[in-house]
């Protein structure tokens, strides 16, 4: 039995019927074909599915699609028009990704962090990534990528090293 929902995803309004048990991540990936949001686990532990709902980072595997009725959702595809959000730039400049699988979730978690704490310390960044697992980078360059974005968003000089 479908339930009608209205949701704005990456600025676009959708009116859709969803099965109550459909997880938000499946709605995004399969119904809307926004496959940039990934699934890395089944216990809400890895953060690969992190998106923004009304500006806050959430795990889209731990929300039902019906729960975002009336909400505004931002996925990695909607973070910027041309892939030039300072975080996206930071991840590229600082080699903050390898296989790319955890990357959208990392970037969205970092977006939440920088909204609430524009100038985080290294420890604050590491703490903010508590809900996101990366197996490739050892997190070193992810931390640097987020520092890069923080600097850039505050209009500081960023090193293109």
């Amino acid at each position: 039995m479908g339930i009608p929902i209205n949701v704005k995803v990456n600025g676009k309004e959708y009116s859709q019927e969803v099965e109550p048990r459909q997880l938000l991540v499946d709605f995004l990936r399969e119904t809307l074909r926004l496959t940039g949001t990934h699934v890395g686990c089944d216990t809400s532990g890895c953060g690969a599915c992190t998106i923004l709902v009304d500006g806050n980072a959430v795990k889209s595997c731990t929300l039902l699609a019906v729960q975002v009725d009336g909400a505004e959702v931002t996925t990695i595809e909607g973070l910027s028009k041309n892939g030039d959000h300072p975080l996206q730039e930071g991840f590229k400049e600082e080699h903050g990704l390898q296989c790319g699988y955890c990357t959208p979730g990392m970037i969205m978690a970092a977006a939440d962090l920088l909204t609430n704490n524009p100038n985080p310390s290294e420890q604050e960044i590491r703490h903010a990534l508590e809900g996101n697992i990366c197996r490739c980078t050892g997190y070193h360059n992810i931390v640097k990528s987020i520092q890069y974005a923080a600097d850039k968003m505050q209009g500081k000089e960023v090193s293109h090293g």
Binding site: H38, G45, K92, C102, N132, C136, T137, Y139
Partner: protein, 791 residues
């Protein structure tokens, strides 16, 4: 040549990943696709008494339900093993059938029993609950050493003592003699615990048979699509290989676990043929935990003999290597040829002997995991040395340096012949160790440590000096050692008429940045821009052949194949240029993308030559048009990266929690194409190696249940578990490949683990503790600190 080689070019592949446009297997949606769900044995060891699929078959939306019997009745056997290691007495390796779905007996938790295929994944999962399977649980065995004992449950009835093979290497008599004359012997009995790879992308496979063309397409999360095609065609399903296309699109990490050919890949192809529809299977993480091949799991007793001067005079080791319930693709090679052969380390030990038992247990199969055998060898050596230093009251750094193999470049001095069947290519080990010591400030640290101890703070420092065999591998050598495949690589360099370059290479990239590094090589050699080079990989239809990515081989072997093709391009290009410039080829030089007649200003650009090759109006007589070359490169030897890692820890005496305060890695991976990418590879390896030391480890109960089969229980390293890493390099080029590169993918994971454990033992030395099992959990450390009443 230009400066592109050796520069940190930003990755060209990043744009799609940071914008959510990567194309991973589970992202692929085909017309009319159906979904498979695999019902797996909840028991580690059980007879299957009956299976009733009727209700599931009749459920709305269910397309088919298959059992192991259906597969077997179609004449399909199992998944093959790609490496044969026989018994010492000459008996053939025991290689029991590894069925796609089991028929009578499940041999590990997660063994596939029934496949349900439905119109949606929801229906498939719901229908799976309608299948009735009656099991009779059997006693299980999970520990390799225990499994060899008499009276233990047999995983396979025809494998006495659960042995698949036993193996030895080295001179036993000479080694025993060295021990007989030893001034000091250090012994270590330990488990190099089982770890679970956990690439962040769960495995996935889509099978698509198209009756109109008789073509099979498999999309899969693989590190080596061509090998999967070969195994699938020739060994599992008996398909015509030219009708089989295997695509490994973007793959979300592998770390070894996606090298192997898995049953699900064959199942979706087999069922797609049977049903005529595309079928997707994607693992849930809890499935990944029990079906992705695991790593390590060695139980060893190792001993090192020293003379009165602290010189190593002998090493011997006996290892029970857990194979799991079946032999995975490369499993027998890991504890043998990738482990025993590395026991020389960086040291001059004159007598070495190792024996290895390959043992079946009721656990998930074990195979290569980042480093594959070499981390186990390094752990064994570097823990022994540290323990010996403690016992002999010597400085652990000096004990290592005292025993180092002297420098050799492999050109003017020959390679170093080890006592365990390898010839090291080139090495200058002491400067690397010295540099790492300088980075950490060794002498100052000892002072700081002393003061800290007086204040009740427990700091420790740990060394690890490693060497690995990479660039796998000379085909003839590995063939003689039991490999059932060659280990060359292929690359095609196609110059387009406009001078743009397409490169088709067999080395798959799943995080390593090949699309950038390989483009740098080609751009540098041809004098074109990195943006003018496209690297194509991962599709058996586009790329001639490939042996895939593992063993830190992509650059050393795949990169060398690219160089060979580029050289052929330049050779033919020179003929065309000579014709156009009306000069002799011998009078031409190629630099910065153009051929110039030496000593003149007459020149022709690479683009003009490319266009001429495809518009051959004014063209050398007898020369074929086109500018497109393929090469196969089979390495002359392994490559031997090495390095020194130093870890500094602090232990909270109240809780036993270990904090990694600093981690220094000075590695020598030969020449470096892209330092940024090499550093990234090192960082990631360090995290995995430190993870094994402190956090990770599979825990089985007596019945064979994996107790920590989720991220709620299996401690994956997270961002706040690490400091920023401190890395540096020395450069000793590889003498036998055209790029002088050695490989960097596994170094971090190989060197780091013993450095952490040694650091913890150093911190705990006031408590008289010499050894603890990994992972060094807070409880284990705390318990050790309180075991002898020292506190």
């Amino acid at each position: 040549m230009g400066s592109i080689i050796g520069s940190s070019v930003k990755r060209v592949e990043d744009k799609r990943f940071i914008t959510g446009k990567g194309n991973y297997t589970d992202d692929i949606q085909l017309q009319g696709m159906t979904y498979a769900y695999i019902i797996r044995s909840p028991f580690a060891h059980a007879k299957i008494l009956s299976i009733n699929t009727e209700e599931a078959k009749n459920a709305e939306g269910v397309v088919a339900v298959f059992t192991g019997k259906d597969i077997a009745d179609s004449g399909v056997g199992g998944v093959p093993c790609g490496w044969q290691v026989n018994f010492r007495n000459g008996d053939t390796m025991k290689e029991p059938l590894h069925p796609l779905l089991v028929v009578n007996k499940a041999r590990h938790q997660g063994d596939g029993v029934v496949m349900v295929i439905a119109e949606t994944k929801e229906i498939a999962k719901d229908a799976a609950e309608l299948v009735e399977i009656e099991y009779e649980e059997l006693p299980a065995v999970t520990d390799a050493k225990q499994a060899m004992e008499a009276g233990q449950p047999l995983v396979h009835d025809d494998c006495p003592n659960n042995l698949s093979f036993d193996w030895e290497l080295g001179d036993k008599a000479a080694t025993d003699a060295a021990f007989a004359n030893a001034h000091h012997v250090t012994t270590l009995e330990f488990t190099n615990q089982r770890v679970i790879p956990n690439a962040m992308e769960p495995r996935s496979a889509i099978g698509h048979f198209e009756p109109a063309t008789d073509k099979y397409t498999l999309y899969t999360t693989s590190q080596n699509p061509h090998l999967t095609r070969l195994l699938l065609s020739a060994f599992v399903l008996g398909l015509p290989e030219h009708k089989v296309r295997v695509v490994a699109p973007d793959v979300g990490g592998g770390f070894g676990s996606k090298i192997f050919h898995y049953a699900e890949e064959a199942l979706v192809i087999w069922a797609s043929k049977a049903l005529g529809v595309p079928i997707k299977w994607t693992a849930e993480r809890s499935e990944s935990f029990v079906t992705d091949a695991h790593g390590r799991d060695h139980v060893s007793k190792s001993e090192m003999a020293f003379d009165a001067d602290g010189k190593m005079i002998g090493l011997r080791s006996s290892t029970a290597a857990n194979m799991g319930a079946y032999l995975s693709t490369f499993a027998p090679a890991v504890p043998t040829y990738l482990h025993g052969t590395l026991l020389q380390g960086l040291y001059t030990t004159p007598a070495i002997y190792i024996e290895v038992y390959g043992v079946f247990t009721n656990t998930t199969a074990v195979d290569a995991y980042r480093g594959a055998g070499r981390p186990e060898a390094t752990y064994l050596l570097e823990r022994l040395i540290d323990k010996a230093a403690l016992e002999m009251n010597m400085d652990p750094a000096e004990l290592r340096i005292k025993n180092l193999i002297p420098p050799f470049d492999g050109v003017n001095q020959p390679g170093y012949e080890t006592k365990v069947a390898l010839t090291y290519d080139s090495g200058n080990y002491e400067p690397t160790i010295r540099r790492a010591m300088e980075m950490v400030g060794y002498e100052d640290f000892r002072k700081e440590q002393k003061e800290a101890r007086e204040n009740g703070k427990y700091l420790g420092i740990g060394f690890s000096a490693y060497i690995e065999a990479c660039g796998i591998a000379p085909s003839a050598v590995v063939g003689a050692l039991g490999a059932r495949a060659g280990l060359f690589e292929s690359a095609q360099v196609r110059i387009q008429p406009t001078g743009k370059v397409s490169v088709y290479v067999g080395s798959h990239s799943h995080g390593q940045g090949h699309e950038t590094t390989f483009a740098q090589i080609v751009a540098d050699k041809l004098g074109v821009g990195v943006e003018d080079v496209e690297i194509v990989h991962g599709d058996s239809e586009a790329v001639a052949f490939g042996m895939g990515t593992y063993g830190s081989r992509s650059l050393a072997v795949g990169g060398s194949a690219i160089v060979k093709s580029v050289e052929k391009v330049l050779e033919k290009g020179a003929k065309i240029a000579a014709h156009k410039l009306e000069a002799s080829e011998d009078d031409l030089e190629f630099a910065n993308g153009q051929w110039t007649v030496k000593g003149t200003d007459k020149s022709i650009g690479f683009g003009d030559v490319a266009l001429t090759a495809y518009v051959p109006h004014d063209y050398p007589q007898g020369l074929e048009p086109g500018l497109d070359f393929s090469s196969f490169y089979d390495p002359a030897n392994f490559t031997y990266p090495y390095g020194c890692h130093i870890c500094v820890v602090e232990i909270d005496p109240d809780t036993g929690k270990v904090e990694v305060k600093r981690f220094i890695a000075c590695d020598d991976v030969g020449n470096v194409i892209n330092p940024m990418i090499v550093d990234g590879q090192i960082h990631g390896g360090l995290a995995q190696g430190i993870g094994q030391a402190l956090l990770e480890g599979a825990i089985y109960d007596e019945s064979g249940q994996l107790l920590n089969a989720s991220y709620m229980d299996y401690a994956m390293p997270r961002a706040d578990d690490f400091p920023m890493f401190e890395t540096d390099r020395t450069v000793t080029p590889c003498p036998h490949n055209p790029l002088g590169v050695k490989g960097a993918g596994e170094a971090g994971c190989i060197g780091s683990t013993p450095a952490v454990v040694n650091a913890v033992m150093d911190a705990l030395s006031p408590f008289g503790i010499k050894d603890l099992e990994m992972p060094l959990t807070p409880e284990r450390v705390w318990r050790a600190m309180h075991s002898n009443g020292s506190n």
